[in-house]
Amino acid sequence: MKRVSVDIGGTFTDCFVAWNEQYAEGKALTTHQNLALGFNEALADACGQLQLEIPLLLSQADSVRYATTLGTNALIERKGPRIGALVTAGFKSTIPISRARGYGEGLPEIEQMDIPNARRPDPLVPIPMIREVRERVDYLGNVLLKLDEEDFRIRLRELVDRGAEALVVVFTNSVVNPLHELRAREIFLQECPGHLLGAVPMLLSHQVAGRKGEYARSTSVIIDAFLHQTMYYGLGTLELNLRSQGYTKPMLVSHNSGGMAQLNSTDALQTLHSGPVSGIAASEQLARQSELGNVVATDMGGTSFDIGLVVEGGVKFYDFNPVIDRWLVCVPMVHLVTLGAGGGSIARFERMFGTLEIGPQSAGSDPGPACYDRGGLEPTVTDADLVLGYLDPENYANGRIPLNPRRSKRAIAERLGPHLNMDAIEIAKLIRRTVDSNMANGISTELRTRGYDPKNFTILAYGGNGPLHACGIANALGVQAVLAPPFSSTFSACGAGNVNQMHIHELSTWTTLFHAGTRSFLSDYQGFNAAVEELERRGRDDLMRQGVAAKEVRYRLELDMRYGNQRVETAVVTDISRLGSQADVLRLIQQFHRRYGQRFGEGSQSPEAGIRINTIRVCSFVEQPTVQFTRLVPSKCKEVKPKPRLYRECHFVGEDGPEWTGVFDHEALEDGVVIAGPAMVTTRATTYLVEPGWSLRGAPQGAAWFTRERM
């Protein structure tokens, strides 16, 4: 396997190269003006380790895969075309009203609560660019009002005349009956033929999102249209860069569904958040190959703390209506929760409770924490880490960012000292304890909400600040071990290299498995089977378009099911891909019963209220070779206890005085090495902090286990 995978983040571009049995990591600052430059630098970094020239590597690589925040950044910066929306008559305000709650999507809770200051985000489709078209289809797909084609032509022309650079069509219930949306595109192509200069793209909602919900589907197709050009040119530039350096195969792009596809089979919307999702994909791979069981993937960076879940047995966690930036959308995205807890999170005194609050405000990277010396005055988590002695002021971020400890101490003492009546060291400990507790709380909530106990999970800590806070989070969570995974500083890039080519297709349905009123079971097997077959066909076509043979395609069927009229749709992964008998129906019901009980508590099920399938989802994928993780059991036979490079005075939560703490280089992370806390290991990208009562054990492939030695 010769593979290059890249995660282009907001600050760093990470590169992971799998070259037969060799693996190399590269890192560079992201070059927003031209992403190819940062990519080339990161690739050069990795190539240097492999002693290969870039053109040689690219000409021999079997694939190059990207996970990128390009779309996310474009969305935040509102860089996109002027979009016009054509919607069903009577629905013209659905988009601006945004289910009322649109003002608060994507905001921290404290801002959501502040209704008097509520502001909806600047719209991607301003009200004057929305037009109603006379048509209506009902929930079963029956046409209530036939598409008024003349009306459509007039509205289309109005939007084009108003300068629409892209068009979206969102007709109600088009996911059940797309007749009107499809006809709309035919008319559009008559009116605005694609070969003419000034032709604009038109996207149909049912082709972007397959589930019901006119608002969430609208935002999905709008964001897709908004990012289309930017992504097309951005990724196109990257592909040209590859071509110019000898790469000849199709470039692959990671999706937020946990899969990937060629550029020609990728929607812009599918690329959003694909970087963090790739980290979860890597966690899944690691958990399986290294036999870790259940895993919580945590990524602590400069501004946020991402949490993802990987559970044994193939249970998948998706957000079916994730929030992208400030908008609720309708695509199945691997579940990822982001907390406002990173190195830049600001600590402030909370008058009401006489204690500290951390975040959600962040100093970000500009001005950044006070110790960055860039004008930041507020004390942050990184300032606390520095004051406590954990960070090397000269070698932070591989020496890229010099730190000023005096600034940190001053910010903490001046901003917080007078309120708390504590010295800077004690306050720094409190900051650390608070932020670690917040993160532990986030993990705990994520797991428990889904019916799991944190004690049955292995925590993976990666990202720039992950290993620095691993022990603190574990202490707050009450778990015994944390794993800093192999390639932890480029873990998401590694994950981007591991995902399968995959496409997900969904269909809203009204399939009653058990009718409460008539006490009867589903008997129309053909309808169900035909729907599954159709979704499999679409996935197969997607993959075949990318050169995959039909026989290589695998399918995973997921059903969103519910009792009675619930809102919840619990996704059940089932091996029953075709129904042939009442026994199959019952088995499906039992699978749902188990899954539901596991999540919400045994006895909470209400089958007597009826059981329905609301969405049929088929994941079509082709399995490909992956980076091989070994079992990450530290070698006992060659256990060594190295001597530290130097000692530093550090302060720890729960310890009274300073501790003389050994500092080790990254070589200390070798398999078999055991370091007892308190200690630190500094690498190019991060610091591994081993708190008192903990030890760090080097494991194969550069992984390391934090293990609790005493309570």
Binding site: S93, A216, T434, N438, N441, Y563, N565, A609
Partner: protein, 752 residues
């Protein structure tokens, strides 16, 4: 004989009276006290020993996460539309029943009155040998007279025992909708007594050994129209409470009883201290506001709600005396406990949104009312549509508090005019297209237009007045469950705006019909069709009044199929003005409609309203006026006549100089029309309400209350109020028609 009773005899008498109570009805001692109670002995001991504020905060975070988890479970599992769109809450209470914390996203008011039934259970059931309170018990309740917003909300309350000791209470509440009332959907405006309100659960045990009792579940299912919903959501609330219990027990295991008990108490006291601190920051003085409810939902009648807020040091007194008396046979009453819960909500939603959601927010505030008023109703009165005064309570803060707040160096949120405060949604009932009986309400209740701010226009349909991050839902999904078809789904209501320097956020039109049901009907429980609901601030306009419009005697689906060009736009104003379907009956009535049958294809049309405006319209930036025109939010007529902007209607380019002159001219015109205040009062002020106006409440003297009896105006003393009995509107109408008939017969010379 006048013999003094000996202490022993008195004790026996007291014991007899205590043991022989006919009926444990709502207890005024509980229901009238919204304050956090004094520390228990245990709390006193723990807090005297001292707790680290940092540890308390840590535990607070864990409790918040646990509450949030329980909230999410209800939201996800709940079958009621209210649960799906956010009308629910989970809460934790001290062992004495004081509400300490609620889930961050929950509906504050639900929990802010759930401590009343818990205190009822503590007072009456714990020591009652026939009931008792044990580990594994769960209590259900819905009757708002024992605490609650209205009887459509059902709560599950569970005591949490730790090592055999009761350490706290837990609850979940969902707006369930259907409750077997005389109208489907749980909010019967037609209720003439509490016996029309459907099932009325005083707090009773329905869970034993952590399991629902099937006999009682069956009884409740038998009492409502939607037994499926009743069963499903009882399970939901129970299992969410059980999850919460699990979390709290893990906190107890980790930190111990004292830390949990101390945290709950400290939280209450910290918040109360903060509220007192904020009151102290306000200038001393009194500010006032008067609100009017213009309908009993059966007839048009002006009901006054009068408020004076007085601040003296760290005391704040809200004086509602002089408000309208309660109705004996109309559903728009509320009891004082519910009213206070809504006040708590409004304070958090409009003035101090950063405060934690707990009863301690309202605890330091003194509230004065006239008993038996519409906001402090007692006895057998119906209160199924208590939302009417409660929504007023939510927004009543904006005018008086913004006056007090305005010049403060630090404010805790924006200065904002009143939000539109009506439950402008369809309540429905009947047979679904799937053959199920149901009754409930639509998520559109969650989209009230926001009041304008001192620095920005109000947001369109941003939230209900009682919660944040609530959801108006997706119609494609709603149409799967009910036969309601939206032909106009949330269309911003053009020209119906609270104008000002900054305008209120707009509401939206809702055009609904029905298809595929053998029997279906709607009701609407809204006021504000005669008198505007949302008040402007500092010269901003109020919102307009809004009507219910109907097109009956038509099957719109036939029209759309056979003559699709007949209807060009699903717009209420156009449909009503142009009357495009011949033969149909068009009507415009007030939005207080009791349940009526909607035949397939008939149209019912209502409107969510706009928030109030802020500041003088002549100060509105002409660019903002043009933006509203470009967005088709208003007509040129408004731009010219209200905002006095001169511009080109084609290009929307403003003539700045002409606009300045036009506005100056208009200011001079205003000055010319203006009169000295005393002179104005002489002409304007009347000694009593106009004779023809159905009016209840005080006029100039808050001690004298005007009311009606048998159609005649009467007065009563505010401290001796009694209920107003209204005649049946059908009887009134029959009498009118009979009178007309008699006149007609007289004029034509006919006889009886």
């Amino acid at each position: 004989m006048n013999q003094e009773t000996l202490p022993d005899e008195q004790a026996l008498l007291d014991r007899f009276l205590a043991d022989n109570r006919l009926f444990l009805g709502p207890d005024p001692e509980i229901m009238r006290d919204h304050r956090v109670g004094p520390r228990s002995d245990l709390e006193q001991t723990i807090l005297e020993k001292g707790l680290s504020p940092h540890e308390v905060h840590h535990v607070r975070g864990l409790l918040n996460a646990a509450l949030s988890e329980a909230f999410t479970m209800c939201n996800q599992m709940g079958a009621a539309p209210g649960a799906k769109w956010g009308d629910l809450v989970s809460g934790i209470y001290t062992a004495r029943g004081d509400l300490a914390m609620i889930a961050p996203h929950g509906i504050i008011a639900f929990a802010a009155c759930c401590f009343y039934p818990i205190k009822f259970i503590i007072k009456n059931w714990i020591s009652d040998p026939t009931v008792g309170v044990r580990d594994g018990d769960g209590f259900i309740h819905n009757d708002a007279r024992y605490g609650g917003i209205h009887n459509t909300d059902q709560s599950m309350m569970m005591p949490l025992f730790y090592h055999g000791e009761l350490v706290c209470w837990l609850s979940t509440t969902i707006h369930e909708g259907e409750n077997g009332a005389c109208e489907p959907g749980g909010m019967p405006a037609a209720a003439e007594s509490k016996y029309d309100e459907g099932i009325k659960m005083s707090p009773f045990r329905i869970v034993e050994n952590f399991q629902l009792r099937r006999d009682l579940v069956t009884f409740l299912q038998n009492s409502v129209r939607d037994p499926k919903l009743q069963l499903e959501d009882m399970k939901v609330k129970l299992h969410a409470v059980l999850r919460l219990r699990e979390r709290v027990i893990s906190i107890l295991d980790r930190f111990g009883r004292d830390v949990l008990v101390g945290t709950l108490r400290t939280h209450l006291e910290d918040v109360e201290a903060e509220v007192r601190r904020r009151i102290r920051e306000l200038p001393d003085g009194t500010t006032r506001v008067i609100q009017f409810m213009d309908s009993s939902l059966r007839e048009n009648v002006m009901q006054k709600i009068s408020l004076a807020i007085t601040v003296v040091g760290d005391r704040m007194i809200m004086d509602f005396r002089g408000s309208a008396p309660q109705f004996t046979n109309r559903a728009v009453n509320t009891n004082i406990a519910s009213f206070k819960a809504a006040l708590c909500t409004g304070l958090l939603q409009n003035i101090w949104p950063d405060l934690p959601h707990t009863m301690a927010v309202l605890s330091p505030i003194e509230i004065v009312t006239d008993r038996n008023s519409v906001i402090d109703a007692e006895g057998e009165m119906p209160q199924a549509m208590s939302l009417m005064p409660l929504f007023k309570a939510c927004v009543v803060w904006t005018i008086p508090m913004n006056k007090l707040n305005f010049s403060l160096p630090q404010r805790y949120s924006a200065t904002i005019a009143s939000q539109y405060d009506q439950a402008a949604t369809f309540i429905y009932g009947g047979l679904t297209q799937h053959g199920d009986v149901t009754g409930n309400f639509c998520g559109d209740i969650n989209g009230n237009g926001q009041g304008a701010r001192s620095n920005a226009d109000g947001e369109h349909s941003v939230s209900p007045v009682f919660g944040f991050m609530c959801d108006t839902g997706e119609h494609e999904i709603n149409e799967e469950d009910t036969p309601i078809i939206r032909l106009g789904a949330q269309r911003l209501a053009r020209d119906r705006i609270g104008w000002g320097k900054y305008r209120g956020g707009l509401g939206y039109e809702q055009i609904a019909t029905v298809r595929g049901s053998a029997m279906w009907g709607f009701m609407t429980g809204c006021e504000g069709s005669k008198f505007p609901s949302a008040q402007g601030l500092f010269a901003g306009y109020s919102c307009p009044s809004y009507q219910l419009c109907k097109i009956k005697g038509v099957n719109i689906f036939d029209v759309l199929r056979d003559t699709p060009q007949a209807i060009q736009e699903f717009d209420i104003v156009r449909l009503m003005n142009e009357r495009p379907v011949s033969g149909a009956r068009y009507s415009s009535v007030d939005m207080g409609m009791t349940f009526e049958i909607c035949n397939e294809g008939e149209l019912y049309m209502i409107c969510q309203g706009s928030g109030g405006g802020y500041g003088d319209v002549l100060e509105r930036d002409p660019a903002l006026v043009m933006k509203d025109l470009a967005e088709d939010l208003m007509s040129h007529e408004i731009a010219r006549n209200i905002y006095k902007v001169v511009y080109d209607e084609e290009t929307l380019i403003v003539d700045e100089e002409a606009t300045r002159k036009c506005r100056e001219d208009y200011r001079r015109e205003r000055t010319r029309r203006g009169r000295p205040f005393n002179e104005f009062c002489q002409d304007w002020v009347r000694t009593e309400p106009p004779a023809g106006l159905p009016y209840i409440g005080s006029w100039s003297d808050p001690a004298i209350i005007y009311a009606m009896s048998g159609g005649q105006r009467v007065t009563m003393k505010a401290d001796q109020l009694h209920g107003v009995f209204m005649p049946n509107p059908k009887d009134v109408r029959i009498a009118e028609l009979e009178l007309q008939l008699a006149q007609l017969q007289r004029s034509t010379g006919g006889g009886e």
